[in-house]
Structures are given as C-alpha cells and as structure tokens.
Amino acid sequence: MAEPILRIENLRVEYRSKDLGQRTKVAVRDLNLSVYPGEVVGFLGPNGAGKTTTMNVLLGFLPPTAGDAFLFGVSVRRPIARQRIGYLPELTYYYKFLTAEELLRFYGKIFRIPARQLAQRIDWVLNLVELEPVRRRLIKTYSKGMQQRVGLAQALINDPDLLILDEPTSGLDPIGRMKVRHIIQQLKRQGKTVFFSSHELGEVETVCDRVAILQAGELKAEGRVTDLVQQHQCANLEQVFLKIIGYHEPSDQLTGMAVAQAA
C-alpha cells in the first residue's frame, strides 16, 4: 500500500475550559487516521465533535497537546509541510479590497510560482470555479457562493496534492452546492486527495471513498461508505451516522417518555 499523504498519530488536543470547576476540556482524544493518495475522505461528526480542531492542528494553527500529525511525511509543526496542500476554511472571507485575480496572484507568490506559470494557473482555476468573467471585480462585490468559489480557487492555486476543505458547501444555495460538489468530483478524477468535513451526508455519500466519524473528540467509525452501511445494517450513511452518534429522533424519545409515564 502507498504511504499515507496525511497521517494522524495518537492526536490529543486539550484546551482550557471556560466552564466553572473544569480545568481542561479534551477536544480530540487519541485520534489515529490516515489518508492515502487519490482518496476522497469525509470527516464527519456533530458540531463540537473536534473536526475543525483536528483540521486546525493539521494546518499548524493549533499545537497538539500530545501525538503528532504528518503531511507528506513531514510533521505539521513545520511550515514546509503545507507546501503541497490547499485549504478552504469553513467561513470564507478574503481581502475585500482585492480582486479575485489579485488575491490569487498574492497566494501564488507565497508558493513562489514563476510569473508565467502563475498567470496560466490563475486562468485555469478561475475557469474551473466559473469566476473568469468577474476576475477583475473587487471581492467585496461577490455573492456568498462566489466568495466560496474564490476560496476554492485559492486552495487550488498551487496545484495541491491534498485538499483540506472545512465544510465547503456550508451556507450555499443548492446551485452553489452542486457547483462545489462538481469541482470536488472533477478534482477526484484528476487523482487529487481530498479530506473534507461536512454536515451534508448525502453529498458525502456521493463524493467520498471513505468516511471517518468523530464524536466528542473520539473516532467512532472509519471505513468505506458501503461497508459501514452494511456493517450497521442501515439504508444510508445518514442512518449510520445517527446510529453511531447515538441520536434518537425526538418523536421516539417522546413515545418512550409517554410509555414510561403510562407504565
């Protein structure tokens, strides 16, 4: 088997709790996860499960309390590890006083892409995200969907081998979601590795080769979508997800309470 592009080893992240009487809170608990070249891996979990914290560690924003994570075999503590990755944050905001073209040129300069190749790359990514006609407009005039696509464009400017996307379709309308999904599928066909978190389980089912489900900082399940569906005897990924995190529908809970009261 090929070497993993992304490797998380016994990762633990603790932070000072704001709750009274509690000193520390564990955001991620001894997480082990590997992502291999060409895979599209969905990183799932309810809000507060530790997905964004894990991504923050992978991107060097947050130091791990214990354990380590590696990108292309290099510890994420070293900035060079981020040379071949692209990252799209959950809430996308970019310099509003720049145009899409200027923004991409700025990020391209950080990767030291030679001017001619950078110009070609900017053309290519703007075509991919369908922003070519508005490339010279200030970002502050863009709609939310367009800003999200600028985000995707900046994540792709260095032709990354690994894309880390934090809820790429969050807050988008159905057309925006479809466009982003289409781009991810196109990247998958190009052999790119994608690691992304999402709450859109239908979308994850369509796009992902593998999923990892996190709850309260712990990895609860990991594997191919079809295998998990079979293993948990469910109809789809959403049911698997709800079963794994132990969620019961409110109607079931109410029925259960009514039965208990009657008894």
Binding site: V74, Y87, F106, Y107, K109, F111, Q117
Partner: protein, 285 residues
C-alpha cells in the same frame, strides 16, 4: 536532508535538493508578498487621500495669504506644513499598523494565509514591511508637496536637509509601526491600539527628552523608575529635525544621521521581536 521535505520544496520545479539560502529567500519572498497587500489596501482606502488633501488645502490657503508684507512668513508656512505632515504621517502609520492583525483575525483571512507555507513571524514582518513602505510612500508625496510649496516661496531647495528630514521621519515611523503592531497583539480592539499608541508616541515626543530631569526631582523609588524609563523608551524626538528645515540651518552631519537610522532600526527590531514572540504564542481560533 529529510527526503520527505526535499520532495516538498519547489513543487513547481521539484528540485532534488534544497539550495543554500532558500530559507532566507523564501522568508523575504513571503514578507514582500504580504507587504504588497498592505500597500494595495492603503491606496484603495480613502485615509491617505483625505489626509493629503487636508494638508495640501491648509498649506495652500496659508501660503496664498501674505501677512503684513512680511517675507519671513514663509517660515511659519513651512512650520505649519511640516507639522501637518508629522501629524498625518503619524496617523497613517498608527492606523494602518494597528488594524493589520486584528482585521486579519476578525475577517478570518489569517487562516487561509497561514495554511500556506508561511510562518507567523513572516506574516508579522510582512505587515510591518507593508505598513512602513506605505507610510514611506505617503511621506514622499507629502515631502514633494512641501518641497514644491517652500521652494516656490523661498526660491531655494536645500535637498540634503529635506532628504535627512524625510528619512529620519520615515525611520521614526518605522518604530511607531512596530509599536502599533506590538500593541495590536496585546490589545484586542484596533481602536484601543490606535489610542494607546498615539498617546505613547505623543508622550515620548513631548516629554521623552525631559524624563531625566523629571526623575531628579522625584523621591526614590520613582526616581529610579522614571530614570530607567528614560533609558528604555525610544527617543523619537531625536528624529524631529523640523527646526533645521524651517530655519534653513543646514543638514546635520551624515554620521549622526546614519547613527539615528541605526538607533531606529534597533528599536524597531526589538519591538518586532517582541511582537513575533507574542504572535507565535497566540492561540488562533
């Protein structure tokens, strides 16, 4: 070299080995790229234009009036113009530098930036470079205007004095930018950083040179504290050579000019070092 790292370096050319000095070159490239965005922001915002138009208007109105047929009135015109340039320069430097990091955090633009192969220190130094360069460009515009106005009235242009005044002013604003950046990491809101930096800088400019005398009149332990403060603070008033320019007293010796630039560089470096240390320890979320 770690083979995993060598495969990451120069993805566009995939060089097998990292060339010597690449780290420094990469750092300079990143600093310059971040600085470029700051300059672009300055000229797309209206602050600079407003200050320049105000300075130009006040100076031109004052310059067009001939009080009491007095030729020496041009000195007052120069004094006023330089005062406005000093105030405008200070406002541009402080407001530009103070909002950089808080705005990056508030708008979350820091995250996609730090997800690139760039360190926090490089981002901070890039911000400083951009702010300093932007204030330098603004100063050039202001001083060229000043030169034209005073040259037309006095029919002489002591370029060496003007050059020294401009460079000393620029280096002094470098210290101010570094101070504002450090302040922006200590205080969360840019408005507090603006106010505190302006108060501190104005305090140093007005009182800095008198602190040693004040210390002598104080009882212990305040005498030691104030005396210590006198030696610790950057003496920004040393960079104020407006009187030399206003009264045409000629340029200062170039050795002293160079020493003053060195003094500003050391203070800016110390303040930036402290800011980098703080920024590295900051939790980003």
């Amino acid at each position: 070299m770690n083979p995993a790292i060598s495969s990451l370096v120069w993805p566009w050319r995939r060089r097998p080995e990292q060339p010597a000095g690449l780290h420094l070159l990469t750092a300079l490239n990143n600093i310059h790229a971040v600085g470029g965005v700051v300059i672009r922001e300055l000229y797309r915002r209206k602050d600079f234009y407003v200050l320049f138009v105000l300075t130009a208007l006040i100076t031109l109105v004052m310059g067009s009036v001939n009080f009491f047929n007095e030729d020496r009135i041009v000195r007052y015109l120069k004094e006023l113009c330089l005062f406005l340039i000093w105030v405008s320069g200070l406002v541009i430097a402080v407001t530009t530098a103070a909002r950089q990091i808080p705005a990056e955090r508030e708008h979350r633009t820091l995250f996609p930036l730090l997800a690139k192969p760039v360190t926090r220190a490089q981002v901070l130094l890039g911000k400083f470079w951009g702010c300093w360069l932007a204030t330098g460009l603004a100063l050039v515009v202001f001083y060229v205007f000043f030169g034209v106005v005073s040259g037309l009235r006095e029919r002489q242009l002591p370029l060496d004095s003007y050059w020294q005044a401009l460079t000393l002013h620029w280096f002094m604003l470098g210290v101010v930018c570094a101070l504002a950046l450090l302040g922006s990491l200590v205080f969360a809101a840019p408005s507090s950083t603006n106010t505190i930096t302006l108060v501190v800088v104005t305090g140093i400019l007005l009182l800095g040179r008198h602190l040693n005398k004040v210390a002598l009149s104080l009882p212990e332990p305040w005498q030691t504290v104030v005396y210590g403060l006198y030696f610790v603070i950057p003496h920004l008033e040393l960079f104020d050579v407006r009187d030399l320019v206003v009264h045409n007293w000629g340029a200062i010796p170039w050795g002293i000019w160079l020493a003053a630039l060195g003094y500003a560089t050391v203070y800016a470096a110390l303040l930036l070092g402290a800011a980098c240390w703080l920024f590295r320890r900051k939790t980003l979320n």
